[in-house]
Amino acid sequence: MRIDAKGIHYRPLNKIIRIAAASGEKEFELDNVGGQRYIGTGLNDSIKITINGTPGNDLGAFMNGPKIIVNANAQDGIANTMNAGEIIVHGSVGDIIGYGMRGGKLYIKGDAGYRVGIHMKEYKKQVPIIIAGGTAGDFFGEYMAGGIMILLGLNGKSPLVGDYVGTGMHGGVIYIRGKVDPYHLGKEVSCLELGEEDMKLLGSYLKEYCEHFGFDFNEVVGGKFTKLVPLSHRPYGNLYVY
């Protein structure tokens, strides 16, 4: 189903998609998207939505299954509390993406803004993953409780990542392709060398990632990575007195 979204408010637009998906439509292509919010939000069906233009905030929030491809930059709040599915952005994204994300994949070709993957968490078999090809702002992986975040810095921009990386992190793992000055790290993370298991894990996700965006897998995976893990699952255990 192809929809010209020019000038359509998000409510009718999303309603069209909801109704069509419920009646079995599997593929949507939205043209001239300009800031419409909540595309894919709350959808449970295994559908594919291709977005041409800049989608609005909360793209794929509470999403549980669909695949979304954005052929432009995207804005704030992508994959907010997402449970399952896949979002692929052929551009850069704004702030607070993957907030409380519990499952699924979020692949970004370019840069990510501030507060990426805040309180991302995993539960049983659900392990969310975010990969950004460029740089990221401050508070990358703040409060991270589970899942995997990978930052690649492929566009060579500096700084690779902002301050307070993994501040309050108490679960999950962050891989950053390049060096991170300890000054930029939160108090609750430690820096580790990568082992064989790590390389295997990176390899499987990066292969898929590179295929989406046409990056050279060997070059990407051949970079020197830094691994960040939480020092403790209870970083504030000693802060209180009873």
């Binding site: 408010h9 800031g35 233009g53 800049t54 609005g56 905030n57 804005q75 704030d76 702030d95 401050d138």
Partner: protein, 357 residues
């Protein structure tokens, strides 16, 4: 189709031609309308620079009056305080659902020589603005700069833009605001932009340090009685840049000051300056979530709070600089851009006029 938004704050958008090309108001209305859902119909407004080229040396006062009495009282006061070169109603289009506007009138004013014996011209104008806003019941100065004006009111910004017939104005800087008021009631004077002299501010977010910013400004003769946190931003720029003669980057360093941990790592001379600014101007720090666009005669400044709690996207295309709460609001009016970026926290995006006129 109009739908009430969720409480996501407000929308701001700004555009400027650094070459000083003047663009009519339809473009900025289109941009701010794209973010309709960020506001709730209780406030919208615009600031425009370069709109009165034939009277560019006169202070253009845009006034809002609750009633004829307040208009008469203000005009009586103006007659004494200024040479009133011209006054006229601000043209409006009354058929698009905007209800209960105040009396909207504009004045082109000059300051008589004899008033300036002990005070600079702009300090004098600033004091008269404060006096009208505080002392004349029902009168409000919407803007008071030269060759610029604020157009604002209660309504969605796109409706306010049509109401003021912004298609008839051409400006080299336009800023716009869609309001989702929380702390102050939706009254015409309370809509953004807030202005003083040629400073204008559109603001998304809330200034959690308002209490001390206000008390600090009061020490310097500012009167803050508009029941909104945004006015402190305009006055702080006025204080720092105009009165204390700060460069823009230094003013930014006071208002969105670097963290101590970053100051501690600066080069010695820079560090000395940063420490001194924090020591002396700690009370000017704008704390809390904000993204703002400041307009002034020579440019436009975009700024986020120092941990970037409100959104801002900036973009360039040829001589144009754009800033908005959302990228889509820029793409709406400039689909092909040379450059799009998200400014870092506490780092200003500065547009400067290369050549006026």
């Amino acid at each position: 189709m109009k739908v009430d938004g969720i409480p996501s704050g407000c929308a701001i958008s700004g555009m400027m031609s650094e070459d000083g090309r003047r663009i009519d108001g339809r473009v900025i209305i289109k941009s701010i309308a794209c973010m309709h859902d960020r506001s709730n119909g209780l406030g919208g407004g615009f600031a425009a620079y370069g709109i009165y080229p034939k009277r560019k040396d006169q202070y253009a006062f845009h006034m809002m009056y609750d009633n004829i009495e307040s208009k008469e009282a203000t005009e009586e006061f103006f007659k004494d305080a200024f040479n009133v070169d011209k006054d006229e109603p601000i043209p409006t289009f009354r058929e698009n659902g905007i209800s209960n506007p105040p009396i909207l009138w504009r004045y082109f004013l000059e300051v008589p020589e004899n008033k300036l014996e002990f005070i600079s011209e702009r300090d004098y104008v600033m004091k008269t603005v404060m006096k009208v806003n505080s002392d004349i019941e029902g009168a409000f100065v919407a803007s008071s700069g030269k060759n610029m004006g604020a157009f604002k009111g209660v309504g969605y910004p796109e409706d306010i833009g049509k109401f003021y017939k912004l298609e008839d104005y051409s400006a080299y800087i336009w800023t716009a605001h869609g309001r989702f008021p929380t702390n102050t009631p939706g009254w015409w004077g309370g809509a953004h932009p807030f202005t003083l002299l040629d400073w204008s501010v559109v603001h998304n977010g809330e200034i959690s340090s308002y209490g001390i910013n206000k008390r600090y400004l009061e020490m310097f003769g500012y009167r803050l009685e508009l029941r909104t946190d945004t006015e402190v931003i305009a006055y702080l720029f006025d204080l720092l840049v105009r009165r204390h003669k700060f460069r823009t980057d230094r003013a930014i360093m006071a208002l969105a000051t670097p963290f101590w941990k970053d100051i501690d790592r600066m080069e010695p001379e820079q560090k000395k300056i940063a420490i001194a600014i924090r020591q002396v101007y700690g009370s000017t720090l704008l704390n809390g979530p904000f993204s703002i666009i400041i307009g002034h005669s020579n440019g436009m400044i975009g700024l986020n709070d120092r941990i970037k709690l409100r959104p801002m996207t900036a973009a360039r295309k040829d001589d144009m600089l754009y800033m908005a709460s959302e990228e889509s609001a820029i793409r709406e009016i400039a689909p092909d851009l040379d450059e799009v970026w998200s400014p870092r926290a506490g780092t200003a995006v500065i547009g400067t006029l290369r050549d006026v006129e």
